[in-house]
Symmetry: C2
């Protein structure tokens, strides 16, 4: 197995320490947990924003910790939900008296464990609200999910409600904005090469040398179609059209675009995809308000990318432009 690791059972804890030691003035690890929090957490009278999920999606989720974005990120093992007690530690650490808001990607384990943590926190007197992100239009149900999966669009939700929380918004106001963001964000991905699991040293699915798969999930969940590797332009149009079909845009709508690399995709390829996505949207009369290109929600060394569109109104635009000090999403 070609990985720069020490012990496959220690990858998460060593990564968390490596992350905390990279940003000692901004982030700290809660001792004996898999939780990283803003150094200054809890921020008094601000709603604390907590996200997290399985590891292997870096820079998600720890890279989004910082003023203007997340207060805590809770890490599970690779591609495995964090346990409720870990999520609870995160909630408790960032509660500054105004309650805590959870951003959950729609995977069965995550939803169950974050909800259980919310119940435990409420039993301790902490008010908790949540949103479940399900931006992936690929499949309705999948090996990890009932309903649609949450993928790269989650990062835009983090940004939006992180900014909202900094304004002093209440839990209810944050919930309303989060619901709006989730209702207006859609993504679709393609994989060219699978990720290799640290524990087994094996790829978690197989693709022939000339094959790609449309709609693969960020844990290698099955997609919708396998076919010969096609051109960047074809891929860009196919992914964008699948997203557009579901988003019901009209010509006067503004969108934010995210071209997300899944881990091992050269950035050059992401920009080549972006070129066609922009051209295609322009041809359809859809105005692009802002574009993000890079590795935002990865799947270890999976090769491929996803296209995310978020329909933005004035509130969402303003929140996207607010400052963020998160290492992986500085504005």
């Amino acid at each position: 197995m070609k990985k720069i690791i020490n012990d496959s059972e220690q990858v998460v804890t060593e990564m968390l320490d490596g992350f905390a030691s990279a940003y000692p003035n901004d982030v700290r690890r809660l001792q004996d947990t898999t939780v990283l929090v803003r150094k200054d957490a809890p921020v008094k009278n601000k709603v604390g924003i907590v996200s997290g999920g399985g590891s292997g999606h870096e820079p998600a989720h720890a890279g989004y910790i910082g003023e203007g974005m997340l207060d805590a990120a809770v890490a599970g093992e690779v591609f495995t939900s964090p346990t409720p007690d870990q999520v609870l530690e995160g909630i408790k650490a960032v509660n500054g008296g105004a309650g805590v808001f959870l951003v959950i990607k729609n995977y069965t384990g995550d939803v169950m464990n974050f909800e259980m943590a919310a119940e435990l926190a409420e039993a301790e007197g902490i008010e908790v609200e949540k949103v479940v992100v399900n931006d992936d239009v690929a499949v309705e149900d999948s090996s990890f999910t009932t309903g649609r999966r949450g993928i790269a669009g989650t990062v835009l939700v983090h940004k939006i409600i992180g900014a909202k929380a900094e304004t002093g918004a209440s839990l209810e106001e944050i919930k309303a904005t989060a619901d709006k963001a989730v209702a207006n964000v859609r993504s679709m991905g393609v994989a060219l090469k699978p990720p290799v699991m640290p524990a087994s040293g094996k790829p978690n699915f197989e693709l022939n040398e000339d094959e790609l798969e449309i709609g693969v999930g960020i844990h290698g969940e099955p997609g919708t179609e396998r076919k010969a590797v096609s051109s960047a332009n074809d891929i860009a149009v196919e992914l964008t059209d699948l997203v557009l079909k579901d988003l019901n845009l009209t010509e006067s709508d503004d969108v934010t675009v995210m071209i997300n690399g899944l881990g091992a995709t050269p950035e050059m390829e992401l920009y080549i995809v972006n070129r066609k996505v922009q051209e295609h949207l322009q041809e359809k009369g859809i105005n692009v308000y802002k574009t993000y290109v890079g590795n935002y929600m990865t799947s270890l060394e999976m090769a491929g990318c996803s296209v995310t569109l978020l329909k933005v109104d004035e509130e969402l635009k303003e929140l996207l432009n607010q400052p963020s000090k998160a290492p992986a999403f500085k504005v």
Copy 2:
């Protein structure tokens, strides 16, 4: 070949268009060139900073265009220096009357072509100064280079002199700061998997399934040693010690650390390496002032990483902390 591209001969031009269309308010492409510049270039009375080199190292160099960093990035074909006429276009476009400063990575083609462009610009009455970055301690001479190669440390040089230029510093003052930064920055890399060239569809070197190579260059130039894949801790210590041996630090020195991914390395692995680098420096009594972890200077989908140390005095610290609006290096 598993790449998301259209035509291997069009990858650079399509990438440049894709980059410009991602940041239309910040960056523009000079028509019929491979040059991207700050949207507001030339900035009057500010020294223009120009860098560039072969493509395939994204986000270098275009990702570093922006207020506080580069004014222009000139792209060559994949792993190939840009031609003098292209560099000249970049110089002319960012000359705001205070001259232009070139940051060149030490490869024979780059040095020759940037120097020729400088001469042509001077013949047109534009004052030009330059620095050649040679931070890679791996080998003295290599297939692309006389002397040491320039790799990820170049990004820190961009940041430092980009900030210096924003203060209104003269060409001579920028030259002095650039020389200081170059004199104090060292890097060392390791490769686990080669990059695949878009033109040939072939990897540009071969490594056995259980092998890594220490000291490989960012164009796949030969390194210093091949051996069995070892632990992240061993790799971190080996790379750091090779850098330290050359940097002559004393216990009271402060350093900036960059853990750079070469393209296909999961970010998780970079943080695991960072953990050990920080621990190792701490044991040696070396104080880390700031740390950067991510894909800063890549080699298409090469797997591996590099460790860069920059010894920082008060001036360099202050310049690193100044704002940068470059998409790939926001502060």
